[in-house]
């Protein structure tokens, strides 16, 4: 393990008028890794990342960024951080190039505006006004603004929220390039695919606390389940006790008329399920299986989904 953490947070607390946004949070991000804060909306992810960015003051706890503290080294820290905030609208009347030259002028050193445009692949939009860009292009410009100071640590707050699937994949590719270039990244997201794909380590947050932490693989393994079988028996009455008693079934839940089984061995669970349904004389109208994901980890830990839509 490296001597100095890129980010170290100890027992962080922050409350607003009537809610506790962050409730005793510990976090450590190592240099060169992409760390993900995964959690539903309102879990305290943005508050946490904004405290780390020096934009919000914590009620208590310690935050050490690149070995420095906001109270004493704010100016030096700002030079070394690349920040992309949730929901920033850049000046619409400026062009892409003008926007980047503006942000570049705020930093002592870093790549030029043209170089940043090339990195985020906005060459064709170099002289287009920001107001004419698509959601994905705006988000790539926001990333470029975070890069012009050649940061040692990148904070990305929900970088793909609100984007269509194609724009999201394009952004993921960019972030993967940053990872390959050895940048340290802390990103927040409520998309489990995003965390699984991009992050070396993930902390799952709920109600201001971290409820699980590790690599995606470790987290999924920790619930002792490798696969999820989802089936529906139409309107026919079903005896769940029989299903629950099958070998390799860890947990049985019903959801919107479907039954979800968390199982360890798919090749034994599926034939077993078919036998059991045949024994009960229940028809099978739907059957799906998938490998366990971080979503399943979250459901396992909280009984809720990441996205309650």
């Amino acid at each position: 393990m490296p001597a100095t953490a890129a980010l170290r947070v100890r027992n962080l607390r922050k409350g607003y008028k009537d809610v506790v946004a962050v409730d005793g949070l510990d976090l450590e991000v190592h240099p060169g890794e992409c760390f993900g804060l995964l959690g539903p909306n309102g879990a305290g992810k943005t508050t946490t990342i904004e405290i780390c960015e020096g934009l919000t003051e914590a009620d208590s706890g310690e935050v050490e960024v690149l070995g420095l503290r906001w109270s004493s080294d704010a100016a030096a820290l700002r030079e070394r951080l690349g920040i992309q905030l949730q929901e920033t609208q850049l000046a619409e009347k400026l062009t892409v190039l003008e926007t980047l030259r503006l942000f570049r002028s705020f930093f002592r050193q870093g790549p030029g505006a043209e170089e940043a445009i090339r990195v985020v692949q906005l060459e064709e939009k170099r002289d287009a006004r920001v107001g004419t860009l698509s959601g994905g292009q705006k988000q790539r410009l926001a990333l470029a603004c975070a890069l012009v100071g050649d940061p040692d640590l990148l904070f990305l707050d929900e970088p793909t929220t609100g984007l269509d699937p194609q724009a999201r994949r394009q952004l993921w590719e960019l972030i993967e390039e940053f990872k390959a270039a050895g940048r340290t990244i802390l990103l927040t997201t409520h998309y489990m695919e995003e965390a699984e794909r991009l992050c070396g380590r993930v902390a799952i947050m709920d109600h201001g606390k971290i409820i699980a932490q590790g690599t995606p693989r470790e987290l999924i393994a920790s619930i002792g389940v490798e696969h999820v079988v989802e089936f529906s028996a139409g309107n026919t009455a079903l005896d769940l006790a029989g299903v629950r008693g099958m070998t390799g079934v860890r947990e049985v839940r019903t959801e919107n008329g479907s039954v979800l089984l968390q199982v360890t061995e798919l090749h034994k669970a599926v034939p077993g399920l078919l036998d059991e349904l045949g024994r009960q004389g229940v028809p099978l109208t739907e059957l799906r299986t998938h490998s366990a994901t971080l979503e399943d980890v979250f459901v396992h830990l909280t009984g809720r989904h990441l996205r309650d839509e």
């Binding site: 700002r78 920033t88 850049l90 503006l102 705020f106 100071g149």
Partner: protein, 348 residues
């Protein structure tokens, strides 16, 4: 990366400029509108040449006598028609001999004595006829006509409009940009960079300074060239007043925008600030018309100070020393507003 244009303050000021020139409405309201206003009011209140009054006479002798008076436009008409003309107001007065065949030459004037024009016609006509009949003036009087620039309404108006323009542009410009940037979280994004925060506020003042020659120059040049409005005072004092006014009002704009989160709230606050000054500070009519009791309050308003100083400079040729009280008022507003803005300003 050390050239002039790579400096944060230059880039921020460039951003101000780009946002301004790429907004056609802003350009119209701050440049064309003051000219249209000055032109409209200048035409409405222009000083007309002395009016000539239409009168009628029924005999050639009377008509000849009346024509000696340049301010009368005389027509000779038959009696019935003349009578009809005066009734319908086509002429202000009819002069006719007192009685047919009377030899002393006495005259009857028919006119409406409730109409000022009629009374004036009576005076002028009688004077012309008396002179034609041989009356000598007891003493001679010579006219010296005074129609000098500097005392007309347009002369009064142009400094008022300049002051109003400086106030409006300085308060709306920075105020709106800041509230908009706060609302769009751009303000928060910008302070997350190492840029010194005062640069952001300073860029607004810089941009107003760059725009000042245009803000002031357009209505001033228009007044001077089109209406011959005088510039009697020191040009440096005039420029200094405008700079000070811009700084004071921009500081006011920053203060108003220091915490507001919505454009609507900002609009309300700005109107609350500016409307009383539009009324009280003597843009369109002299603030002396308000009661003595409120005069001390009116005198401490920044817009009153600006307009009083501009009028004193342009119309009376006042020097620096005579403008010290107004400059003092502006400096006080500048210090108080900027101090409060720095103290109250919310970056998120």
């Amino acid at each position: 990366m050390s050239s002039f244009t790579d400096h944060a303050l230059v880039q921020l000021t460039l951003m101000r400029m780009r946002e301004f020139i790429r907004e056609p409405e802003a350009l119209f309201w701050s440049m064309i509108f003051p000219i249209a206003l000055a032109a409209g009011l200048g035409i409405a209140f222009r000083n007309r040449p002395p009016e000539v009054i239409k009168v009628a006479a029924v005999t050639p002798r009377l008509a000849e006598a009346l024509r000696q008076e340049k301010l009368l436009d005389v027509t000779q008409l038959p009696p019935q028609l003349a009578e009809q003309f005066v009734r319908t107001g086509k002429v202000a007065l009819v002069a006719e001999p007192a009685a047919a065949g009377s030899s002393d030459g006495s005259v009857v004037y028919r006119y409406d004595d409730t109409n000022p024009e009629g009374r004036q016609a009576r005076m002028l006509a009688d004077q012309a006829i008396q002179r034609a009949s041989g009356r000598q003036d007891a003493i001679s009087g010579n006219d010296q006509i005074m129609r000098e620039p500097g005392s007309r309404y347009i002369d009064f108006l142009i400094p008022g409009l300049i002051g109003m323009g400086i106030m409006g542009n300085s308060i709306w410009g920075p105020g709106f940009s800041i509230v908009d940037a706060r609302r769009k979280k751009l303000l928060k994004r910008i302070v997350a960079t190492p840029m010194p925060r005062q640069y952001y506020l300073l860029s607004f003042l810089l941009w107003r300074m760059i725009l000042l020659p245009v803000d002031v120059g357009i209505p001033l040049a228009f007044g001077v060239w089109v209406f011959g409005v005088p510039l009697r005072g020191s040009f440096i004092a005039l420029a200094g007043t405008c700079v000070l006014a811009t700084l004071a009002f921009s500081a006011g704009g920053l203060m108003i925008a220091s915490r507001v989160r919505t454009i609507e709230a900002a609009s309300g606050l700005m109107n609350l600030t500016m409307v009383p000054m539009w009324v009280l500070s003597g843009i369109f009519f002299s603030s002396q018309r308000f009661p003595d009791l409120v005069q001390p309050i009116i005198k401490t308003l920044p817009l009153t100070a600006v307009i009083d100083a501009l009028r004193a400079n342009m119309l009376q040729g006042a020097g620096f020393t005579q403008m010290v009280p107004q400059a003092g008022v502006l400096v006080a507003w500048l210090v108080v507003c900027f101090g409060l803005a720095l103290r109250l300003f919310r970056w998120r």
